[in-house]
C-alpha cells in the first residue's frame, strides 16, 4: 500500500506546501497527470481525505488502493472494526482480532499514525467483544463502543529510532552499520555522478568526492567503581567487531568519549569518522557519588557510637581504618580526605547507629535504670 502523507517532521515553514486532496471515493483511480498545477493547501488529515505534498506541480503519479481495513477507519461499531458478524463466536472474534492486530500493530508499522489509530480501535473493539458480559451489554445498547477504550502506551518506537536504539541496530546479524553506509554512499554517488543532465549537482563529471566518514554513537554502561577508578572495557560495535574502551578515572554519567577514527569509513580516501560513546554509570549498592565526593552510610554499633573506636570503612580504592570519636550520633559525618573520585574529592561517611538485631536483657535492665536517672529530650526541636 502506498500511502502519501504530509511529513510532520518537516519544519513549520515547509509545511505550507501546495498539496492535493482526494476524496476517499476516488481511491483506486490515478492521480492527476505529471505537470498538473496543484494549488490546494495542506489541511489536517481526516478520515476521508488524502494529502500529498508536491513542489507546486504534480510530479508523482501512483495508484492509491483502499483496503477494507482502511474503510473501517470511519466505522465505530466494534463488529465492523473486527470485520465479524453480530453472531460471531468468541473464537471467530479472537481470530479476527489476532489477524488484524498482527497487521496493524504500531511497532510493526513504525511512524504510521493510521496504523496506530486503527490498532487502538481494534484493541478497544476486542476488549469489548471478548468480554461476554460487556458484549451482551453492548448488544443491548447499554454501553457504547467508545466507553471502554483503554489507552495504550507504545513506547518502543520512540526509543528504537533515536540514539538508545543503537544497541539493537548495531548488533544485527545481517545488517551492520557498514552495510547502511554502503547503501547511503551509493545513493550519494548515484545522485552526484550519474548522467549528463545531473552535472550541476555533481560539481563536474568524474569529480571524486572526498568525504570524512560519519560519527557513530554508542552507549556503554560501566560499573560504579570502574567509573571512579578507571578501567578498560570491551564495547561490541557489531558482530565480531569490538573495541577496548579505556574508561578514564572519574568519568561522569552521560559523558561522551570520542574515539577518533572508529566511526564510519571515509569516502574517496578521506579519514574515518569517530565513535562517540556515551557513558552510563550503573548505581552502586552502598556508594553514592556527588561531584568528586563519594558518600557512604556506615552502620556502627551502639558501643562504637557511645565509646568511640576504630572501624573498617570501604572506599573505592579499598578498605581503610577510621576512628569514630566518642559520642558520635547517627547523622555524624566523618571525612576521609582524598578518598573520593580519582583522588580529587573526599569520602564522606555518615554514621548510622544500629542496635543489636536481637533483644538483650542486660541492655534492657541497664537502660531502664539509666533512662530514669538521665532523662533527655531529642525531639525538642520538632515539637509543635
Amino acid at each position: 500500500m502506498w500511502w502519501p502523507r504530509a511529513d510532520r517532521a518537516m519544519p513549520r515553514n515547509e509545511r505550507r506546501q501546495v498539496c492535493w486532496r482526494e476524496p476517499l471515493s476516488n481511491r483506486g483511480r490515478l492521480l492527476p497527470k505529471d505537470g498538473t498545477t496543484l494549488t490546494e493547501e495542506l489541511s489536517p488529515r481526516n478520515d476521508n481525505t488524502l494529502a500529498t505534498r508536491t513542489l507546486g506541480t504534480c510530479r508523482k503519479t501512483a495508484y492509491i488502493q483502499a483496503t477494507s481495513s482502511e474503510k473501517n477507519m470511519a466505522a465505530r461499531n466494534p463488529y465492523e472494526v473486527l470485520g465479524v458478524k453480530k453472531e460471531a463466536t468468541a473464537d471467530d472474534i479472537r481470530k479476527a482480532y489476532r489477524a488484524l492486530a498482527k497487521k496493524h500493530h504500531p511497532d510493526l508499522n513504525p511512524g504510521n499514525k493510521q496504523a496506530e489509530a486503527l490498532f487502538k480501535e481494534i484493541s478497544a473493539a476486542y476488549d469489548l467483544l471478548s468480554d461476554a458480559d460487556k458484549r451482551a451489554r453492548f448488544d443491548r445498547g447499554e454501553i457504547d463502543e467508545a466507553g471502554n477504550e483503554k489507552p495504550r502506551a507504545y513506547a518502543y518506537q520512540d526509543f528504537a529510532e533515536g540514539a538508545p536504539g543503537a544497541k539493537y541496530r548495531t548488533s544485527q546479524e545481517n545488517m551492520s552499520p557498514e552495510d547502511l553506509d554502503d547503501l547511503f554512499s551509493f545513493f550519494g554517488r548515484g545522485g552526484f555522478g550519474q548522467g549528463s543532465g545531473g552535472g550541476r549537482a555533481g560539481g563536474g563529471e568524474g569529480a571524486t568526492i572526498r568525504m570524512r566518514g560519519g560519527d557513530r554513537q554508542y552507549a556503554l554502561t560501566v560499573d560504579f567503581l570502574d567509573a571512579v577508578n578507571g578501567a578498560k572495557q570491551r564495547l561490541e560495535l557489531a558482530p565480531g567487531k569490538s573495541l577496548d574502551v579505556t574508561i578514564p578515572a572519574g568519568v561522569r554519567d552521560g559523558q561522551v568519549l570520542r574515539l577518533s577514527g572508529q566511526g564510519g569509513p571515509g569516502l574517496g580516501g578521506a579519514p574515518a569518522g569517530d565513535a562517540l560513546i556515551e557513558i552510563r554509570i550503573a548505581p552502586h549498592a552502598w556508594f553514592r557519588r556527588e561531584g568528586d565526593d563519594i558518600h557512604l552510610d556506615l552502620p556502627v554499633t551502639l558501643g562504637e557510637a557511645v565509646l568511640g573506636g576504630r572501624v573498617t570503612v570501604p572506599t573505592p580504592t579499598g578498605a581503610v581504618t577510621m576512628t569514630v570519636p566518642p559520642h558520635s550520633n547517627t547523622g555524624t559525618v566523618l571525612r576521609l580526605r582524598d578518598k573520593g573520585v580519582a583522588g580529587k574529592g573526599d569520602e564522606l561517611v555518615t554514621l548510622k547507629v544500629v542496635l543489636p538485631s536481637e533483644g538483650d536483657a542486660e541492655l534492657d535492665t541497664f537502660l531502664k535504670d539509666w533512662a530514669a536517672k538521665h532523662p533527655y529530650d531529642p525531639r525538642k526541636g520538632i515539637r509543635t
Binding site: P11, D107, F187
Partner: protein, 105 residues
C-alpha cells in the same frame, strides 16, 4: 535504568525463566554489570513489545527472531533516513529542490 527484579514487577505476565530465555536469545540486551543486569528504557519497552507479540498476538517463538530482526532493520533504516532528511534540510533551498525533483522523477 532498572534491575531485573524491578522489571519483573513492572511487566505483567512476565516470569523470570522466560525473560532469561529472551536474554539468552539476545532478543533483549540488557547491560551486564557486576551486580547483575541493568535494563534501560529501551530494553523495558522492548520487553513490553515482546510480551505483547508472544502472549497476546501468540506469535510463535520460532518466528520471533525473524520479526525482531526485520523490525530492527526497519528502525535502523528509519534512523538513517531521518539523518539523511536532516542533512537535506540543512542544505540551501535550491539544492533541496534539486534533490526533491530527483526523488520524485
Amino acid at each position: 535504568m532498572i534491575a531485573l527484579e524491578a522489571l519483573l514487577r513492572q511487566v505483567r505476565g512476565l516470569d523470570a525463566a522466560e525473560l532469561d530465555q529472551w536474554i539468552e536469545a539476545r532478543w533483549v540486551r540488557p547491560d551486564r554489570v557486576a551486580s547483575g543486569y541493568v535494563f534501560h528504557e529501551i530494553d523495558v519497552a522492548r520487553v513490553h513489545l515482546i510480551v505483547e507479540l508472544r502472549h497476546e498476538l501468540l506469535v510463535d517463538a520460532d518466528a520471533m527472531p525473524v520479526i525482531l530482526n526485520l523490525l530492527d532493520q526497519v528502525y535502523a533504516l528509519r534512523n538513517r533516513l531521518k539523518s539523511v532528511a536532516a542533512a537535506i534540510e540543512a542544505l540551501p533551498p535550491e539544492t533541496q529542490v534539486l534533490i526533491r525533483e530527483r526523488l520524485s522523477g
